[in-house]
């Protein structure tokens, strides 16, 4: 906990200061360490995602930023101001809750105007601003409805409008799309992204959906057991996962342990290979005695198709390599492949050595 806080308010932060800055954050609930030493800087105007399975500490970090929980150790700084010990209503952030938390006894307009009302904005003005915010989320026509008369997607938008109407510098979103069905979720993803771009405010987005995190974010932090295991752009996290955990949590990966890596790749250590980096060709006629060969940086491995799963836009093919491991391969349906492989077909699995990512062994278990 900081002891340096003075009675004077610190000066307004310079724009180059991080929107959110977390240092050595730690939070325990009873015996459970929910957040275990998180350091993080989130820039102004960034769309930042915190990705992880449930219980990984991402939501607790969000609640620490919002002020619903108080850190046991560490500091939370918003725009250069230390807010570690401040109450939620003294922080310039707003939250879109997972269950939306709309006030059931108020209509949509009063819900959206709430933040303005408690700030003492005049009635006519807060009505106008609330209607404007509702317009932003295309719900101007439902201002008189009660929350229980709205669909899930509409509630979601009301929650969004309620949070942005007070023009916070940071918007925190706690799995806001989790309760929506797939179609609506994809539509809301597009709208969220557009909204963030137009408003230019910082979004901190908590999700367990890796695809959502990858599509929306400027940067992603992958959480595990209360810590950040990897931090980077979606591309970095996907293309260069740091360890086997990230490699298999973010997207699907074929993991090669040290023995297999040595045997197939001729390299030491653990490696990951994305399913879409592998191509398959029929090997009935070109079959050789050696199960693996490496030429010009391309690996070719013989295998037998164990399963073919039709996914619509793609096929997922599972191949048992003769050299040992089982390989998951993703083939675009519209690709060169005329007839998909069948169970029992002998195939060449082919991939570039450059596409194989070495992983840090530290998290290997």
């Amino acid at each position: 906990m900081t002891v340096t806080e003075t009675a004077d308010r610190p000066p307004r932060p310079a724009p180059e200061q991080a929107a959110i800055s977390l240092r050595g954050l730690r939070k325990e609930f009873g015996d459970v360490v929910a957040v275990d030493g998180v350091d993080l800087d989130i820039e102004h105007g960034e769309f930042f995602s915190m990705l992880g399975p449930s219980g990984s500490g991402k939501t607790t970090v969000l609640r620490l930023i919002a002020g619903f929980e108080r850190a046991d150790v560490g500091t939370v700084t918003l725009g250069g101001t230390d807010v570690t010990t401040r109450a939620p209503f003294e922080r310039d952030v707003n939250t879109v809750f997972q269950d939306y938390a709309l006030f059931p006894h108020m209509n949509v307009l009063d819900n959206v105007a709430y933040g303005l009302r408690v700030r003492g904005v005049r009635k006519a003005q807060r009505r106008a601003r609330a209607l404007e915010a509702l317009g932003t989320v295309q719900l101007g026509h439902l201002a008189d409805r009660r929350p229980n008369q709205l669909s899930g997607g509409q509630r979601q938008r009301v929650a969004l409008a309620r949070a942005i109407v007070v023009e916070p510098s940071v918007l925190l979103l706690d799995e806001p799309l989790g309760a929506l069905d797939l179609k609506l979720r994809e539509q809301m993803q597009v709208e969220l992204k557009a909204l963030q771009r137009n408003l230019g405010i910082t979004f901190v987005f908590v999700t367990h959906d890796q695809e959502e995190a990858l599509t929306l974010s400027d940067r992603v932090a992958v959480f595990r057991d209360g810590r950040i295991v990897q931090l980077g752009t979606p591309q970095e996290v996907y293309e260069e996962p740091r360890d086997p955990y990230v490699a298999s949590f973010v997207g699907t990966s074929n993991l090669f342990d040290s023995a297999v890596s040595q045997q197939i790749l001729g390299r030491a250590g653990i490696h990951a290979l994305r399913p879409e980096k592998v191509t398959l060709t029929d090997a009935a006629a070109t079959r050789t005695d050696e199960p693996v060969r490496v030429t010009d940086g391309v690996v070719e491995a013989l295998g037998v198709v164990a399963e073919t799963i039709y996914l619509g836009a793609a096929h997922r093919v599972i191949v048992d390599l003769e050299a040992g491991p089982r390989l998951v391969v993703l083939e675009q349906t519209a690709g060169a492949l005329a007839a998909p492989e069948h169970r029992g077909d002998v195939v060449w699995a082919r991939w570039a050595l450059d596409d194989v990512v070495p992983l840090s062994a530290e998290a290997d278990q």
Binding site: A87, P88, V93, A101, H105, V118, A163
Partner: protein, 266 residues
């Protein structure tokens, strides 16, 4: 589960029997309040409003009603205030001894009235050296009235959850504003239900009252008890009993309608 016709019939008959056993005596009291025969013979020999008129003019009965109403109102008000604060504290905050406090609050309603009565009587007269008045009755009633409010509010708070209050704080509202604009509106019907139950509970209480009421304090149940065995007062007692039935049942019926999850009377 599908029941056979015979079982259904038997269960139906049993239900009617039990309900008849419960409510026929009450019905007899109501009918007798209009019975023209002063000896209350059955079947009634005719219809009269004489007893109602006499009850309305009976100063003793009127005073007793007024005393009971006053006691019930003030005890309910105390219960509403303390019960709400208690349930908010226990439901929204974590602190040492929380579950113990929870148990201690509910306990008075489970304790036999005679124990509560004796204990409070000892405390008032022996330890605190107070004169027994309307005030001591109010305090005594409040001890178990709190429970109905507490239970109702507790159930409501549990159902509503804390995220509305977090949302309010998040949007810039301080503690009082949040209570006024968000928490209280959510509790309103639970408070009404708990308050009505508390009122009904206090209005017909007699055991604790006998131990905590001073010589001059006559609540309605005590008045009935004192006049029951006086032959010429019997018809008037019937009328007062009908009033008591109405005043007790209507709030409970309302409370039931107001809160599906009311855990009022044990």
């Amino acid at each position: 589960m599908i029941l056979s016709r015979r079982v259904r019939w038997a269960l139906g008959a049993l239900t009617v029997l039990v309900l008849a056993f419960l409510y026929l005596p009450l019905l007899v009291v109501v009918v007798n309040s209009f019975n023209a025969n002063q000896a209350m013979t059955w079947p009634p020999s005719g219809f009269t409003l004489e007893w109602w008129e006499r009850a309305a003019n009976s100063e003793g009965a009127r005073d007793a009603v007024w005393t009971s109403v006053q006691i019930a109102l003030v005890a309910t008000a105390i219960a509403l205030l303390l019960g709400t604060m208690l349930s908010l504290a226990l439901q929204r905050y974590r602190f040492f001894g929380r579950s113990t406090v929870n148990l201690l609050v509910i306990l008075p309603i489970a304790l036999p009235g005679i124990i509560t009565g004796i204990a409070l009587n000892n405390a008032f007269t022996g330890i605190l050296d107070l004169r027994l008045t309307v005030g001591t009755v109010i305090i005594a009633h409040a001890t178990f009235c709190i429970v109905t409010v507490f239970n109702n509010v507790q159930a409501r708070l549990r159902r509503v959850g804390g995220s509305l209050e977090e949302a309010s704080a998040d949007l810039g509202a301080g503690m009082w504003t949040t209570f006024r604009l968000v928490t209280f509106p959510q509790l309103r019907s639970a408070l009404l239900a708990g308050g009505l139950l508390a009122f009904a509970l206090s209005f017909d209480e007699i055991i604790v009252t006998t131990f905590t009421a001073g010589a001059g304090v006559t609540t309605l149940p005590i008045w009935i008890f004192n006049n029951m065995f006086r032959p010429n007062q019997a018809p008037v007692v019937n009328v007062v009993a009908v009033v008591l039935i109405i005043v007790s049942i209507v709030p409970i019926w309302l409370a039931q309608r107001l809160s599906g999850d009311a855990e009022g009377r044990p």
